[in-house]
C-alpha cells in the first residue's frame, strides 16, 4: 500500500529545478505528485513518479543526490473537514506527520494527499481499519 517517493537535493540556485525536470522529460518520466521544501541555501524536491526505478537511475546517472522513502497516498474527501478528519485520526493514534502535500490531479471526487509518517506500516493499518481509502502504486501510476 505504501508508495515510493524520490527526494532530490537541490542548491537554491537559478535553473536547478528546470534541469531536473529536463532529466525526467528526457527519460519520459511523468510526475504524479511533487513538493519542494526549501531553506535559505538548499531545497529538497520530493516527487512521486510513474516509473520509480527508471527515474532514480536517470537521476543518479545525471549526478543528482537522490534518495527513496516510503510515503502513503490517501484519498481525502474533497469537502470541508476532509483532511481534518484524517489528521485527527493520525494524531489520536500518536502518528506524527513529518510532512504532507497534495497531488496535482484529482481522483474522481476526492483529493489525493501524500503523507510522510515514520511508522508508515502501522499508519496504513490504522487508516484502512477506519475505512480511509489508500491509493496504491499501480493506481497512482495511471491517475
Amino acid at each position: 500500500m505504501e508508495i515510493k517517493q524520490i527526494s532530490i537535493f537541490l542548491e537554491n540556485k537559478k535553473g536547478r529545478l528546470a534541469a531536473i525536470t529536463n532529466v525526467l522529460a528526457d527519460n519520459n518520466i511523468n510526475i504524479r505528485a511533487l513538493s519542494l521544501a526549501d531553506t535559505k541555501e538548499f531545497g529538497v524536491l520530493r516527487i512521486v513518479v510513474n516509473e520509480h526505478t527508471k527515474c532514480l537511475n536517470a537521476l543518479k546517472i545525471n549526478g543528482y543526490a537522490a534518495q527513496e522513502t516510503y510515503v502513503i497516498a490517501v484519498e481525502v474527501p474533497d469537502s470541508p473537514g476532509g483532511l481534518c478528519g484524517i489528521l485527527k485520526l493520525l494524531e489520536d493514534n500518536d502518528h506524527n506527520v513529518e510532512y504532507m502535500y497534495a497531488m496535482v490531479e484529482k481522483n474522481r471526487n476526492n483529493a489525493v494527499v501524500i503523507f510522510k509518517i515514520g511508522d508508515f506500516k502501522k499508519a496504513i493499518e490504522l487508516l484502512k481499519s477506519n475505512n480511509v481509502s489508500i491509493v496504491n502504486a499501480s493506481v497512482l501510476k495511471n491517475l
Partner: protein
Amino acid sequence: MIWNKQKESIDPKSLKKDQGKNLKKLVKKLYETVPFYKKKLDEKGVEPGDIKSIEDIRHLPFTSKEELRETFPYGLLAVDKSEVREIHTSSGTTGSPVVGAYTKKDIDIWSEVMARALTMAGVTSKDVLQNAYGYGLFTGGLGVHYGCLRIGSNVIPISGGNTKRQLATLMDFNSSVLTCTPSYALYLAEVGREEGIDFSSLPLRLVLAGAEPWSEAMRYEIEKQLSVKALDIYGLTEIIGPGVAQECKHLNGLHIFEDHFYPEIIDPDTGEVLPDGEKGELVITTLTKEGTPLIRYRTRDITYLIREKCACGRTIVRMHRLLGRTDDMLIIRGVNVFPTQIEEVLVRMDGIEPYYQLVVDREKQLDTLEVRIEMTEQLMSDEIKVLSKTGKLIEKELFGALNIHTRVKFVEPKSIPRSSGKAERIIDKREV
C-alpha cells in the same frame, strides 16, 4: 625612543660578531644536548667546530614545523626539565601542538624584546595598555604582559573576547593603548559605534595589532574608526611569541631583533638563501634561546628583508609586512587553519566525499569560514530537519578539530572542482 640603543642601533660589524659568537655557542650546545639536532648535523656532515662565524649558518640544516610536531612534547628541549619556567603551545590544530619552553633567561629575553617592541611603538610607562590578546597557552597575552612589566606601563590583562567589557574598560580605565588582532580592533570599533561611543573623545591613541596578516587598507580603517595609530607586531610561538619584530612609526617594515632572532630569506623550493630585497620564505634561528632553541626554522611566512638604516635610528634589519604563506594555511580569527585538517574530519565521517571548498569571508569585521560539502546519496534525506542535523554534526566535528566555528553548506554532487589546486579549494574574500 629606543629601549636598548646599544643593541638596536648597533654597528653592523659588531652585530655580526655577536651573532657569530652566539651561533657557535648554540650549535655546540644543541649538538651536545638535543639528540634530534645531533642527528641532523651528523647527517649534514657538519660539526660544531665548523661554525666559525654567522656566515657559516648556511651550512646548517633547516628545521621544519613537522619536525617540531614529531618531537612533541619535549624532543627539542635543550635544558633539564627543572630549568623550565613556562610552557606555551601553538593552537595544535594540525595534530600535536608546537611547544615553546621558556627558562628564566628566556622569559627575561622575551620581556626585553617586548619592551623594545612596545617602546618602538611609542608606549611608555605613562600608558595604560589594554591587552586583549588571549592569556593562556597562546603567547600573545603573556608576551605583551611581560613587556609592559619591563617598561613599567600599566597593563590591563583583560585577555581576548567579551567585547562589551572591552569597551567599558576602555572608557573606565582610560586605556591609551590596545593590543589585539587587527580584525578584532575593527570589530570593537563597530560594536562601539552601535553603542554610540565616540572614539575620538577617548584617550585611546595606539593599537598594536598582530597574530594575523593585515593590509594597509585595514590599517587605514582601524586608524579612522578608532581615532588611533595602528602598528604591526610579528611573532610566532616557535620562536618566542610576540616580540620577534615590530613596526616603528616610519611604517617601513618591521624591525627584527636580530641579536636574538637571526633572519634569512630562502627560496622555499630550493632552500637557497636569497639576497636582501628578494621575496622568499622567512627562516629564523634563535641565537640566544635556552629552552627550545631552533636552528634555521622555516616559518612559511613570505616577506623580504630591508637592510638600510631606518629613519628611527635603528640599524637592525627590517622585514616587510607579511606578503603571504608558502603553505595553504589560513588564519581565521587568529587561529591557524590548514585545509588538510578539514579534509581529515570529512574523510573520517561516513558518507561524505572528500571534496570540499572553503570560503573565507569577513562579516562584521570577523572572519567566517564556510565549508562547502557535496551532498551524497548517503547523506541525503527527504526531511530538511535531518539534513540540517547532519550539517550541525559536521560543524561540531570541525569545531573539535579546528577550534573555530564553521558553517557547513551543502552543494550538489560533482559541483566542486576536482583539481587539488589551492585557488579552487580556497576562496578568500577577505581584503588583506
